[in-house]
């Protein structure tokens, strides 16, 4: 199958998958290092760790993808904002998506109302950064997001297997 990012795959270490795997493993290592210092196995610790791992997975995936995609940008911005609340990081304002696109958002009539919310709205909630996209871009972002999610799932599963053996 043709590589989608052919230009980057010529050097093997620059595929999205490899970048994600590296970043995620580093993050896991950092989290586990903290875990070793505090050896409590309480559920709260586990829960906290779980959240950190989840955020790490998302952020490392977004970093691997880069800023090319709206959803990865949204994830990275969200992370920066969260950091900014805790620290002194300033979030650089993204340029406003032209509001004229809002017209297209509502112009795409929902053929079905699912649980009272439009399907497009549901999709927008699922895909990070999808709130302000028109339908066409939303679908494109969804396609890329699905791709990256499958990679993420596979890599994480592999890591889990290896770590649990």
């Amino acid at each position: 199958m043709n590589p989608k990012r052919f230009s980057s795959s010529t050097r093997p270490s620059t595929t999205v998958k490899s970048r994600f795997a590296c970043g995620f493993l580093r993050a896991l290592w950092r989290i586990n290092r903290q875990r070793r210092t505090s050896t409590s196995a309480s559920s709260r610790e586990i829960c906290r760790r779980y959240l950190r791992v989840k955020v790490a997975a998302d952020v490392s995936m977004a970093s691997a993808v880069g800023s090319r995609r709206a959803w990865s940008r949204a994830i990275l911005l969200r992370k920066l904002r969260n950091q900014g609340q805790n620290g002194t990081v300033r979030v650089r304002r993204m340029s406003n998506i032209p509001r004229m696109r809002k017209r297209n958002i509502c112009g795409n009539k929902c053929t079905e109302e699912v649980a009272g919310t439009c399907q497009a709205e549901q999709l927008r909630k699922l895909v990070p950064g999808g709130e302000e996209m028109d339908m066409c871009n939303l679908l494109g972002e969804t396609a890329h997001y699905i791709e990256c999610l499958t990679t993420q799932v596979n890599v994480m599963r592999r890591i889990a297997e290896i770590l649990s053996t």
């Binding site: 989290i31 399907q119 592999r158």
Partner: protein
């Protein structure tokens, strides 16, 4: 329409002698008239008998095509075997006024046997090209471009359009070739405006698609479409190709600029808003098709709503899988050996992953030394628990692929950045 007629024509390629040919073939009058005209014109310029023997077949096929009323557009692949999809209007073939626009120097001229429209100068070129075997191979991509480039002047088109509108039936073949078989009357003289955008898409047959009632409206299109830099006229050319007969008053629009050239299809509004709407819809349907390939099990789903539901479910299930896996990773005991991380990274990247749901992750170049060394240790357990209705991306048995990676002793722990430089066995699915 007249199959027997066509047979007659085809079987009598010795229709070389127009007089004799005409007498024997029950051609419609205008066709015969057309042929007569062409032949007579040819005689003026050339007058060589071999022309007929060698080059008449395309003309025959032209008339053949004409008999079908231009109903069959042949794809450019079949170009060699099928007649030129020249559609000649039954109303008659007008004079030579069209051919004035005809570029005499381009190969397009050679390809397009516009019989009735033969300009004196161009006819010989066309005639000479008939005998050429390359005629059939001349990609239509060339012709539309040539033609379009000749029309770059553009301004004259609107004026000629008026003249052409009645004579519109004259179709130049280059755009016609390769279009879908449903083309009725292709009066797309001005269809070539699309050709600079995408000759390939031309070949896919926009011929019949685009009619605009008023050329003026279509003229406005470039302005309307200006914000759209994406060139995708082909998207307009998919879809309904109903066998509608009738005039396709095509409007001229041969600007080669950065906006989408949209053509109003027959029976559709030519309002700029509706055109933009149609472009938007085409884009959306294209994306939906892409998504259909990504989401497993959606090949048979037709319908946007159902498709969207599937997509939403799939994204939700993937996100749930990520959450589940992160929970699992949070609970797993950390390994003491740090080097394992690096080994893992190599392993993870090089291991073969799941189903075809993953696209385009090609592993790095293979280095055989790691492939042969080392042994694979253990088999991989499979994760079986998931709450989503989608099956987990199946684990493949990796022993045959990982034996190069897992080594008994971690003799070398290359840096994480050197990932992927190790061997990879097979490309990702």
């Amino acid at each position: 329409m007249d199959g027997h007629e066509n047979e007659g024509i085809l079987q009598c390629p010795s229709l070389q002698c127009p007089s004799s040919g005409m007498s024997t073939n029950p051609l419609p009058e205008k066709v015969s008239g057309m042929i007569m005209n062409s032949v007579s014109m040819y005689k003026h310029s050339n007058g060589a008998d071999p022309f007929f023997s060698s080059g008449w077949d395309p003309l025959v096929s032209l008339s053949h095509n004409e008999n079908f009323g231009g109903s069959s557009m042949v794809s450019h692949r079949e170009f060699a075997s099928t007649p030129y999809p020249i559609v000649l209007e039954n109303q008659g073939i007008s004079g030579t006024s069209h051919l004035v626009q005809y570029p005499s120097s381009s190969t397009f001229v050679e390809l397009v046997p516009k019989l009735p429209c033969l300009g004196s100068g161009s006819f010989s070129d066309m005639v000479n090209s008939f005998g050429l075997p390359e005629c059939s191979q001349i990609a239509n991509s060339e012709c539309p471009q040539n033609y379009a480039s000749s029309k770059e002047g553009g301004t004259g088109r609107t004026s000629t359009n008026g003249a052409l509108s009645q004579d519109d039936r004259q179709i130049s073949a280059e755009g016609a070739v390769g279009s879908s078989p449903n083309a009725k009357r292709r009066k797309r003289v001005s269809d070539y405006n699309n050709s600079p955008v995408s000759p390939r898409q031309n070949a896919e047959g926009e011929m019949e698609k685009d009619l605009s009632g008023q050329s003026s409206d279509v003229q406005k299109e470039p302005d309307e479409k200006k914000p759209k830099t994406e060139q995708n006229p082909g998207s307009n050319f998919r879809g309904k190709q109903t066998g509608k007969q009738g005039k396709n008053a095509s409007s001229a629009d041969g600007f080669k600029e950065n906006y989408i050239h949209v053509r109003a299809r027959r029976g559709q509004a030519t309002n700029s808003h509706s055109l933009a709407e149609r472009v938007r819809r085409e884009k959306i349907s294209e994306r939906m098709r892409l998504l259909q390939e990504l989401v497993p099990g959606c090949n048979k789903i037709t319908g946007k709503a159902v498709m969207l539901d599937e997509i939403i479910n799939y994204v939700q299930s993937l996100q749930q899988q990520v959450e589940f896996l992160s929970m699992k990773l949070a609970t797993v005991n950390p390994e003491q050996n740090v080097d394992i991380e690096q080994i893992l990274s190599k392993d993870i990247i090089n291991s073969r992953r799941g189903t075809g749901a993953i696209l385009g992750f090609v592993p790095g170049t293979s280095s055989s030394h790691r492939f042969h060394r080392g042994t694979f240790q253990g088999t991989l357990p499979s994760i079986s628990s998931t709450t989503s209705k989608y099956p987990l991306l199946p684990q493949t048995v990796l022993d045959n692929e990982l034996h190069g990676l897992f080594q008994v002793g971690f003799d070398s722990c290359p840096a994480v950045d050197n990932l992927g430089s190790n061997g990879h066995f097979k490309p990702e699915l």
